[in-house]
Symmetry: C2
Subunit: 226 residues, 2 copies
């Protein structure tokens, strides 16, 4: 498992650095343009959200997630805790990061490349939380093992925004927008789901396949539109 381990660590490190650089760069570029909301685009590496019940099994009764670093959306964080996921063909990926806070349902978000590596023939593209009928997996923690009956998804690319930003773009929750990424490997995501919440900060979440396909690290030429 050395290679999967190294890949996992490499991806997380790179993603973190990119996220910081992009955020700083875009906030700098956004200065002086009072009208335009500052757009940040972030890459979500594979990760897990865990419910209280599964946390008890994986990390021991009453165990809490340990804060490691903040995520862009207020209150969300990467935890120090990681698990191992075992796919349908007994392949596994170690160091699957847990993101906090805990949720009502456990859920694993993988890029399609990760899913192939684990032996899934396919995983559904879903919005976070919409896991009915999705595949399951075995999750191994330091204190126990959970068999998820469902919850393995590929997260649909989406944009978080608050109601004022939604009004500015002329969109509502459930709408889809387009995200154009410039540069040599440039492409336009045609189905960016709009998620609106008063506490949200404007930013797009894509997975590592999407970020790697478009060379997100190569360009600042990014445009979100209806």
């Amino acid at each position: 498992m050395a290679s999967a381990l190294q890949n996992s660590l490499g991806t997380i490190d790179r993603s973190t650095v990119e996220q910081i650089v992009r955020q700083v760069a875009l906030e700098f570029l956004g200065r002086g343009k009072a009208q335009a909301p500052v757009l940040t685009v972030q890459t979500s590496s594979r990760h897990m959200h865990v419910c209280r019940e599964d946390m008890d099994v994986l990390f021991g009764p009453g165990a809490e997630l340990t804060f490691d670093r903040p995520l862009y959306q207020e209150g969300n964080f990467a935890a120090k805790e990681t698990v191992t996921i075992v796919g349908p063909r007994s392949r596994l990926i170690s160091n699957l990061r847990i993101l906090g806070p805990m949720r009502k349902q456990s859920q694993v978000e993988l890029a399609f490349t990760d899913a192939i590596m684990l032996g899934f023939s396919d995983i559904p593209v879903r919005l976070s939380g919409d896991i009915a009928g999705t595949p399951g997996a075995i999750i191994i923690g330091p204190k126990g093992v959970v068999e998820l009956k469902e919850g393995v998804i590929r997260a649909a690319i989406h944009v978080h925004m608050n109601p004022a930003e939604a009004a500015q773009f002329g969109v509502a929750k459930g709408d889809k927008m387009k995200l154009r990424i410039g540069g040599q490997a440039g492409l336009t995501f045609n189905n960016v789901h709009v998620r609106v919440d008063p506490t949200s900060r404007l930013n797009v979440h894509m997975d590592t396949d999407e970020a790697n396909a478009c060379g997100l690290h190569l360009t600042k030429d990014i445009e979100l539109f209806k």
Copy 2:
């Protein structure tokens, strides 16, 4: 290296199956439309092209590539021969497939995900054959080791076509076209390089990151346009 090995094999198998299914489906859909060239879209898994000199070192003096299966472009084939590639941080990927026939220069084509796995901080997006100034790598064969000084690229998404098809699309060699992939993870590749050759058959080549990002396996709703 078990996981990298399995991933490599899994990707190749899946890609082959997809290629056949898509080709049959698109040819079926294309029947009766005498005007429209039949478009095939194929996923290139990571692979290597090898020159005579490096073949001698890797597989022994005078060794030839062994035909394994044909590729869509006339005369091209996947060879039975594979090598191991070692990246800048001593990480490696085994079972890197060689595609034939031999070329004037050795070249390795990786998805960006593969590049990260190997420890490259970045690899350039290039058209095949345009390798000046690109990173190198160590290549290990059964009979010897080659240090490639350059030749590791991420292949730019491109479309092969013959002059009649180019005329029909109204494009010329060096132009760029757009490729829209429908479905849930739908997106539009905005920089599809046009390659024109009398022997070519119309088809698009994308890498595994691109295919996985757009969920190429999920849809037949595909459109190539200027």
